[in-house]
Amino acid sequence: MNYTFDFSVLLGNFGPLFEGLQTTLLLALGANVLGLTFGFVVCLMAMASLWFLRLPAKLFIEFFRCTPVLIQVVWFFYCVPILFNVFFDPITMGILALGLNLIAFNAEAYRAGIQAVPKEHHDACVALGLGPWNKTVHVIFPQALRNAIPVLMTNGITILQQSALVAIVAVADLMYAGKMLATDTYRPLEVFTAVAVIYFLMSLPISQVVTFLERRQDASVER
């Protein structure tokens, strides 16, 4: 190996990277707000007994789970303006595209959480004379949410990573800033390594929390 590293390019160009980082965080945060709220709504729709609520929700979930995020993002950026004649700024478009994807994945996480509540608890609610409302709000949802939290957090980190895809449609996020900087400075090794490490450092603390939560839940289930 005869490559000489020159990490000084990073020091002089931290500005663009930092701006890109802010955009990435904004994208991830916005997508998570959409995903956590509307994901729950879509989950309820997908579990509804009325077919005209259930069917569209299920179709939505399956479609977003079974196609690449890249094509979702590209489709959203190119086709939505043509189809609906609406134009948003790139960051809003990015949040919406990523948010739709996260809504589908989080709806599944909520559903799995609800289904993991033991059947006996439904029976117990009947035996205790709890009506559907009390059963849902006080018994099922609290447990379902606790079951779903690790998966919701994992999905949250995943969307942070998937947000790098918006660079392909020229949204100026961290990935895009890195790509530009690598081309301008002819120093892809240093720049891409730095960008990778920044993404990693953002994900690491959350994934550690997830590991901790899962371990605690395993322990509480065992005995």
Partner: protein, 222 residues
């Protein structure tokens, strides 16, 4: 809405799109096979007693699961040739990055199923006087492998979806072909939708199959 769509035009580009799908499947299947084997080795490294084996494996998995696949792909595509001091053909670097991605998520799958085998099974092995080799080969691994099948198939579906990224470094997969046609014809709605539907038609039955195997088949053996 005052525009017209010509979805029929998709059919005149049908074989080009199918060629793209062929490339996508070729890379996915190749990387799935190699990545699964590598992932199995990594999962064994992660339960090894020595920390000199355990820690590099852990760092590798955490890093590949904690960074976007796009940056992994770019790093291997643009940076690895600089470090090695020689050119790497694009299909090799793309394949390498898909294999490393698959191995990272698959090693977690194997580790999870190794861990999921209850303590009572280990007790039974002691009570029957099984030595380490027999316990590992005849009791623990077969069960872990059986339990890994559904998540492993899910991993392959994930890999299939993530493979769309290789279009960004110029590999002529389904994503690349469809976005090329949509810009040359100026018809993104038709061709991007068609590509999305093709991805869906492959991935959706695969996910159903995973569910089926989990519910019908594995309940008997694991």
């Amino acid at each position: 809405m005052n525009m017209s769509f010509e979805f029929l035009r998709v059919f005149s580009y049908w074989d080009v799109l199918l060629n793209g799908l062929g490339i996508t499947l070729l890379f996915t299947i190749g990387a799935a096979i190699v990545g699964t084997l590598l992932g199995f080795v990594i999962s064994l490294m992660r339960v090894a007693p020595s920390r000199f084996i355990k820690w590099p494996a852990r760092l590798y998995v955490e890093f590949f699961r904690g960074t976007p696949m796009l940056i992994q792909l770019f790093w291997i595509f643009f940076c690895l040739p600089l470090i090695l001091g020689q050119d790497i053909p694009p299909y090799v670097s793309v394949m390498l990055s898909m294999v490393l991605f698959m191995a990272a998520i698959t090693s977690e799958t194997f580790r999870g199923s190794l861990k999921s085998i209850s303590g009572e099974q280990h007790d039974a092995c002691v009570a029957l006087g099984l030595n380490f080799r027999v316990k590992a080969i005849n009791v623990i691994f077969p069960q872990a492998l059986l339990r890994s099948i559904p998540p492993l198939m899910s991993n392959v579906v994930s890999l299939f979806k993530e493979s769309a990224l290789i279009s960004s470094v110029g590999i002529a997969d389904l994503m690349f072909v469809s976005s090329n046609i949509s810009s040359s014809t100026g018809r993104p709605v038709e061709f991007l939708t068609a590509a999305a539907v093709i991805y869906f038609v492959v991935a959706f039955p695969a996910t159903r199959l995973v569910d089926l195997i989990e519910k019908r088949f594995l309940i008997r053996f694991a």
